[in-house]
Amino acid sequence: MSLTLRLAFYPRLHCVVRNVVTSCSKGATDTVVVPKSSGAPLIIQDKWKDDKGAVEGREAWVETLDNSTNSTQLGLIHLNPRIFASYPRLDIIHENVVWQKKSRMVNYAHTKHRSEVRGGGKKPWPQKGSGRSRHGSIRSPLWKGGGIVHGPRAFTTQFYMLPYHKRVRGLISTLSAKFAQDDIKIVENLDMPSDEAGYLEQLCEDRYWGPSVLFVDESDIMPRNITLATDTLGHMNLMPVYGLNVYSMLKHTTLVLTVGATRLMEEKLLYNLDRPDGRSLVTRFRK
């Protein structure tokens, strides 16, 4: 179910002061306030308390979806290397994709047993004397039209839960891989001047943003214009942060994250990397 295609009742207003909101948690700074008409460049930094300086932090351009401004690139954002510069574990990514596919799979194929096939209660001919081979039922698996012994039985599921930390690692690996391949674009917000699909398509063409694009924002209520523009385009989709997953990230060529979504995601993933109650999560899933 998509929770993303909801129309906002009011468009987002541009604040005089540009706020980059980060929630107060481990490893985050306070809001960065930048005046609108300032000539200074926008640099969204974040000093992580656990930064040992062993791995160089990554940087990305902060862009805008507004083509009317003279420059589409507004500034710079520093990204946590633990999320965006870790070694991409392909085997874990594969496991995650397989898990996503299998966990929601239901096989409805069904074959009837000999007891379920209509008929076949009576012995077709006496045991001895007829010269034919002995049989007890016309619906035995030996017969044409008889039951299937080990065929598929309806409502077969292949559900299982991949370990919690493997899923965390899968997300991190995919993000790192995508970032390394320049498939992640950071955007200030999802505000657009026009609500036409053509405008968005042209924008993506000009910037070489792959055939399919996934826009990720922190909340599930998206700005009006982008919602209307992506409504008719199947290959451009909107998602909140909580809906992000390895399969979608691999399906869409380009991943466009807002600054708020990036910070929220980083916070969540960093917390889950060294959780104090991690042990409680490593339990077998029981319905």
């Binding site: 039985r153 199947g234 909580y242 319905k287």
Partner: protein, 267 residues
């Protein structure tokens, strides 16, 4: 073997142009006998032969003649002072003798039939061809003789123009960007990236509600179905309910009394 029979054997041998007596290494003596005359000439003259001697002959003889050849060649070998091994299969053949003794340059005469002082054991080696061109001339090796590969080599299937289509379905590529396919997997990581209260099984809306987060064999599935839908089915689907109960009974009997299941290990 006396010289008369040797003469005959040599006669027989060298009528075929294929026989060569040939030395391979420094210990080996080359004896090329191109014509019978030359051979006969050489017979009269004592020939210095230092062992070992290799008689190499090749041709597609018949089996019988092969044996004949080898006996004759063996005779030749023996006359030269060698002891021939028993022969084995294949043509062409190489009869190779090597010296076992230490004395060098044992003088043997082709004409004479005196036994030499040094005995040596010939080694028999079979080779596939003398010259590579012969191998090629023989042609490729036939494998799977008699096997007919049932493969249509007639090119594309017939296309009937301006007539009805072939009985194969028209290819319709699936639209991979429908909403269901484009957003597949959404919310699978909601327990990690969300507030942590929701589990992915609680938001797996594409799966029937009674199967979300469930995995089991048929017996377990039917029990779950009865637990959830039992009352409803008893009232509105009586036949189906009855059949389900019978299946459950049958499966219980089968799994617990007729077959081993891995549950037994826990018991």
């Amino acid at each position: 073997m006396d010289s008369g029979s040797l003469d005959q054997s040599l006669d027989y041998l060298f009528r075929r142009p294929a026989v060569i007596l040939r030395a391979l290494k420094k210990y080996w003596f080359v004896l090329h006998l191109a014509t019978l005359d030359e051979c006969k000439q050489s017979l009269n003259t004592p020939v210095k032969i230092s062992y070992p001697v290799e008689i190499f002959f090749y041709d597609n003889f018949s089996f019988k003649s092969k044996l004949g050849m080898t006996t004759l060649v063996g005779g030749l070998m023996r006359s030269l002072g060698g002891v021939a091994h028993s022969v084995c299969r294949a043509s062409p053949w190489v009869l190779r003798g090597c010296g076992s003794g230490a004395a060098a340059g044992g003088q043997h005469s082709l004409a004479s039939s005196h036994t030499p002082t040094i005995t040596w054991t010939p080694l028999l080696t079979s080779v596939r061809f003398r010259y590579h061109s012969e191998k090629l001339a023989r042609g490729p090796l036939i494998r799977n003789y008699g096997y007919e590969e049932k493969l249509w080599k007639g090119g594309l299937m017939p296309h009937i123009a301006e007539s009805k289509r072939l009985p194969i379905p028209l290819y319709r590529p699936k639209n991979i960007w429908t909403e269901r396919r484009a957003l597949f997997g959404q919310n699978d990581y909601i327990d990690i990236l969300g507030s942590g209260e929701l589990h992915p099984t609680q938001v797996a809306y594409s799966v029937p509600p009674w199967l979300r987060g469930f995995k089991g064999n048929e017996f377990q599935m039917l029990l779950r179905k009865r637990k959830i839908f039992g009352n409803e089915m008893r009232r509105y689907r009586p036949t189906k309910f009855r059949e389900m109960n019978r299946s459950i009974k049958r499966l219980y009997r089968y799994l617990n009394q007729k077959t081993r299941t891995y549950f037994w290990k826990r018991a």
